[in-house]
């Protein structure tokens, strides 16, 4: 792994942390929506599957070590016992799948490739982790777990669109920065 790849991985991990600064928007049920999964989707789409995965692994690992980098200043090992633990553990795989799908679609326009990648990785895959985690932590039934987690879907759909728009804009400005666009 080249030095530049290490710098990029550190950068996107830090981006996810910085996005946690944006105050969470309280949604209907009182569950806040954070901007952090936007960073996860971007890491996958911009870095590609391998670097995206390792970058998010770095983020999750440092949070586990005790850095308060999740939105609302959460962090430490307690996070992994909370009902949303599955989502956080799923960050690396979500970024990996987002990058993989975006790379598969590189013949399509970047808007479509990034959007579909972010949707599959950041919603489909991440929710599988989120729901399994919620079920394991709370012991709820499958159906209940799915219902509770469903409240996050509208906010995350907005982030999918954002990822596509941001990836498109960055690709115009800095084409070399989108790793999933080079064969």
């Amino acid at each position: 792994m080249k030095d530049q790849a290490l710098v990029q991985m550190a950068l996107y991990a830090a981006l996810v942390a910085a996005l946690g600064l944006i105050p969470p928007v309280p949604f209907v049920t009182g569950i806040p929506i954070t901007a952090q999964t936007l960073g996860v989707m971007l890491a996958g789409v911009m870095l590609g599957p391998r670097r995206g995965f390792l970058s998010m692994l770095l983020f999750v690992g440092v949070v586990a070590l005790g850095a308060p980098l999740l939105s609302g200043g959460r962090g430490g090992l307690g996070v992994f016992a909370s009902p949303t633990a599955g989502f956080i553990i799923g960050f690396p795989v979500a970024a990996q799948v987002a990058g993989y799908v975006a790379r598969l679609l590189q013949r399509q326009s970047i808007l479509i490739a990034a959007g579909v990648g972010a949707f599959v990785g950041g919603i489909l895959v991440l929710y599988v982790f989120g729901i399994v985690g919620f079920k394991l932590v709370t012991g709820s039934e499958w159906l209940r777990s799915v219902q509770v987690m469903a409240v996050y879907v509208p906010g995350d759909s907005v982030k999918v669109v954002l990822t596509a728009l941001v990836a498109q804009a960055v690709y115009k400005g800095l084409p070399g920065a989108v790793a999933t666009r080079q064969a």
């Binding site: 530049q4 290490l6 710098v7 990029q8 981006l15 942390a17 910085a18 009182g30 959460r74």
Partner: protein, 210 residues
Amino acid sequence: MMTLYVHRQSWLHRQPAGLKLLVLMATSVALYALTSLWTAGAALIAVILAYRSLGPAGWTYLWVVKPLLPMFILIFVVQTWSQSVSAAILMLLRMLTLIWLANLVTLTTRMDAMMDAVMPILSPFRRVGVAPHRIAFTVALFVRFVPVLMAVLNSLLEAWKSRGGGRAVWRLAIPMLINAIRMSDHVAQALAARGGVRSPETPVSMVQPQ
């Protein structure tokens, strides 16, 4: 440095990080074997007393769960509705015990001690070509980037507000990311100019420019 660690002298601070992690793992498994409200309640009280043993201000650290409160209420309601009140209480007791216990480990263990404790688990990465000193370098760079990017985001937010703001704050994501990528390119160039990430064993004179 940003961390949830609290510098104190307490009996918990003196325990080795590896031991604390093992106890935490064992407890997380054992908690799910508890089916009576009384034993689960006793476990929770034991954890709360452990916070108290940190000193008079120990109680205040229990507030870490504050951001989770709405979630807890929702889960409690759903669980009561789908199963029973006692099942809902048992679940909350387990969850609180585990979150507080895990947080207690974080509060009383320095980040570098924690890193040393998990380094043996990272060693298989060496086989796929990622040496531990490169992992350590990336962690250090990440920790350094966080405040820099937060400053970038803050300055963009202030510029946005001073120009009248508006609802489309998301637009800031684009200059934010472009700024960040430019910065990381400069860092990568500076790193290459200094001979790259150096292994602690390599003397400076042996470093080949890339």
